[in-house]
Amino acid sequence: VREPTKRLDGRVLVMWWAIAGAVGVAATAAAVGAVVADLVPTLVPYAVGAGAVVVGVGGPLLRYRRWRYEIRERDLFLSRGGVFVTRTLIPFDRIQFVETREGPLDHAFGLQQLVVYTAAGRAGLIPGLAAREAELVREELSAVAGVNAV
C-alpha cells in the first residue's frame, strides 16, 4: 500500500495546539481549584499539567504528521490516525456530493473542512485545508462525482 501524498495545511496544527492548550489550561486550573478546596493532594495539578503538555503537544503533532490525502485517478484516498490507524478509499463513482465547511475557529485560521458524501452517508472528512485548496478539491471532486451514484 502506497501512502497518499498530500498533507494538511500547517495552520491546522497550530489550531489543534490552540484547542489542546485551552483544554489543558482549563484542566490544570480545575486541578488547582481542587487543591485549593482541599480535595486532592498538591501533586495533582503538576501531574495534570505535565500530562496536558505531553498529550496536547504530541497528540496534534502525531495526528498532523499521519494525516494524508490524495485525489488519485479514480478515487479519493485518505490515511489518518496516530493511534487508531485508518485508511479510506472513496471511488469517484460513489460520491454523491461534496461540501466545504468553515467553523468560526476554521475561519480564524483561514481553513476549511471538506466533507464527502456517498449513498452510505458521510464517507470522509478532511480537516484543515487552506480555504483555496479546499475549494479546488471540492470543484475537482464535484466534477467527477456520481457517475453511477443512485
Binding site: R74, L89, D93, G124
Partner: protein, 454 residues
C-alpha cells in the same frame, strides 16, 4: 375527523362552566378545532403527473411537495387498528436521502391505495399484470412456534420477568419454597422446576408477540421487488425493491445455531422510519433452515452459488491471542489479588478466567470472511452470529482500520461503507488485510458498475 370530535368533547366541559365573553372565545376555539381536520382533509390533494408525485395541503401554511417518482425508494401499505375500523389504508412513501417517511397519504380506500402504489412504482415494475407471483417463503404454524420459542424475545422477556420478580415481597418466595418442600420434594428438583416454569412463561409471552407480528408471514417475488405480508391485528404489506437491497444478513442466535436454524434480514437503502418498524420490515425470513436461508440470500443478491458460510477464511491465531490475552490478564490479575486478600477463597475468581477464555475462543471462532467475485461475505458475533453478504457494487467507501491492540498483534479490520450499515471483516492478518484493501479498492473503481435505476 376523529381528532376533531375528541377535541370537541373535551372542550364542552369548560364551556358549561365559563360565563360571558370567555365562553364566546372558547366556542370559537372549539369550532376551529373541529374544523381544522375537516379543512385539512378538504385541502389535501395529491396527483401523479409527469413522473412526479405532487401533494398539496395545509390549512394556515399551504404546502406543496413535488417528489420525483425515480427518487421513491419504497411504498408501504399500513393498516393499523384505527385504519381497519374505518376500512382504509395508509400509504407511506420513503424517498432516497430522506430522513423518514417523506410523504404519507394517511387514508385511502384499499383499491385506490393499490392503484396509487402501482402508479408510483410504475417506473420500476416490469411484470405484466396477472402473472403468478412466486412465493419465496411462508410461515406455517410450526415455524411461528419455532420462531417464537427460539427468538431473542425469549431472552428479553426473561430479563423483564427477572425485574418483575423484585416486585414480589421478599419473604414470599422462601415461604413458598418452605411450603412446597414440606410436601417432600427435594430442593434440586424444586429449583429446576422453578427455572423451567420461568423459561416456559418467557417463551409463552414471546410466542404470543411473535404470533401477533408474524402471523401468516409471506414473502413473494413480484417482478423486481419483494413483497412481505404479515401481522394478525395489524396487517402490513411492505415492498422492497430488489435493487435497493444493500446487504443481506443471516442471523443465528445460540439456540438457533444449535438447531441449524437462522433468520434472514436485509438492509434497504433510503428506508428510514421508526427503528422498530425499520427492523421488522427488513426481515425476509423470520426463521428457516440454515441452508435454505443461505440459498435465499444468494438468490436475492445474485451471489455465486458457492458463497455460503461453510468455507470462510478463518481469522488468524493472532486474533485469538488478541482476545485471550487481555481478558485473561484482567481476570487473572483480579483472581491473584483476591487470592492474596481473601486467601484460598479468592481463587474462586479463577472461574471467570476460564469463562473469559471460552468467550474469547467463541468470539474468535465466529470470525471469518470470504471474497468471491463481486461479493464479500463477513461473519462475526457470539450470542448472535451474523453472516453478511455484501455486494461490492453497493459499497460506497472502503476502509482499513487498526486499533493500537490490533497493531500490537499484527491485525487489521476491513470496513465496508454501505447505506445504514457498515459490515466489517474483523481481525485479518495485517498484511493480508492490506492486500485485500488494494484488491477490493481496485475492484471498486475498475469494474463496470451496473447502472442503477435513476
Amino acid at each position: 375527523m376523529v381528532e376533531g370530535v375528541t377535541r370537541l368533547g373535551l372542550g364542552l366541559i369548560p364551556l358549561l362552566a365559563i360565563e360571558g365573553r370567555g365562553r364566546l372565545v372558547l366556542l370559537a376555539l372549539l369550532v376551529g378545532g373541529l374544523l381544522t381536520p375537516v379543512l385539512r382533509w378538504l385541502r389535501f390533494t395529491y396527483r401523479v403527473e409527469g413522473g412526479t408525485l405532487v401533494t398539496a395541503g395545509g390549512v394556515l401554511a399551504r404546502r406543496r411537495r413535488v417528489i420525483p417518482l425515480a427518487r421513491i425508494q419504497s411504498v408501504d401499505l399500513v393498516q393499523k387498528l384505527r385504519h381497519r375500523i374505518f376500512g382504509v389504508v395508509e400509504l407511506r412513501i420513503e424517498v432516497a436521502g430522506g430522513s423518514g417517511t417523506e410523504a404519507a397519504l394517511v387514508a385511502l380506500a384499499p383499491e385506490e391505495a393499490e392503484e396509487v402504489r402501482g402508479l408510483l412504482l410504475a417506473a420500476e415494475s416490469d411484470a405484466p399484470p396477472g402473472t403468478e407471483h412466486p412465493v419465496l417463503a411462508r410461515m406455517e404454524g410450526r415455524d411461528l412456534v419455532l420462531a417464537g420459542v427460539t427468538g431473542g424475545r425469549v431472552a428479553v422477556v426473561a430479563v423483564l420477568l427477572g425485574y418483575a420478580q423484585d416486585l414480589i415481597a421478599d419473604d414470599a418466595l422462601p415461604s413458598l419454597l418452605g411450603r412446597v418442600q414440606s410436601l417432600g420434594l427435594s430442593a434440586v428438583v424444586l429449583v429446576l422446576a422453578l427455572v423451567g416454569a420461568f423459561l416456559l412463561v418467557a417463551a409463552a409471552i414471546s410466542l404470543a408477540a411473535t404470533v401477533l407480528v408474524l402471523w401468516d408471514f409471506t414473502l413473494e417475488h413480484h417482478g423486481d421487488r419483494l413483497v412481505i405480508t404479515r401481522g394478525l391485528l395489524e396487517r402490513r404489506r411492505s415492498f422492497v425493491p430488489l435493487h435497493r437491497i444493500q446487504a443481506v444478513h443471516l442471523n443465528e442466535n445460540l439456540l438457533r445455531r444449535a438447531l441449524g436454524l437462522g433468520s434472514l434480514s436485509v438492509t434497504v437503502a433510503g428506508y428510514a422510519g421508526p427503528r422498530e418498524e425499520q427492523q421488522e420490515t427488513s426481515t425476509l425470513l423470520p426463521i428457516g433452515r440454515r441452508h435454505e436461508a443461505l440459498s435465499l440470500a444468494r438468490s436475492i443478491i445474485r451471489a455465486p452459488e458457492g458463497l455460503g458460510s461453510e468455507r470462510l477464511e478463518p481469522a488468524p491465531r493472532a486474533a485469538l491471542w488478541r482476545r485471550v490475552v487481555p481478558s485473561v490478564l484482567v481476570c487473572g490479575g483480579a483472581a491473584i489479588a483476591a487470592g492474596i486478600v481473601w486467601g484460598s477463597r479468592g481463587t474462586l475468581l479463577l472461574a471467570p478466567v476460564a469463562l473469559a477464555g471460552v468467550a474469547a475462543l467463541a468470539a474468535w471462532r465466529s470470525l471469518g470472511h470470504r471474497i468471491e467475485g463481486r461479493h464479500v461475505l463477513v461473519r462475526s458475533g457470539v450470542l448472535v452470529r451474523k453472516t453478511t453478504f455484501v455486494p461490492l457494487d453497493n459499497v460506497g467507501d472502503l476502509s482499513l482500520k487498526a486499533s493500537p491492540v490490533q497493531l500490537l498483534f499484527g491485525l487489521a479490520t476491513l470496513v465496508f461503507g454501505l447505506p445504514k450499515n457498515k459490515p466489517r471483516a474483523i481481525d485479518l492478518d495485517r498484511e493480508l488485510a492490506e492486500q485485500r484493501f488494494d484488491r477490493l479498492g481496485d475492484a471498486l473503481i475498475r469494474s463496470p458498475i451496473p447502472a442503477k435505476a435513476k
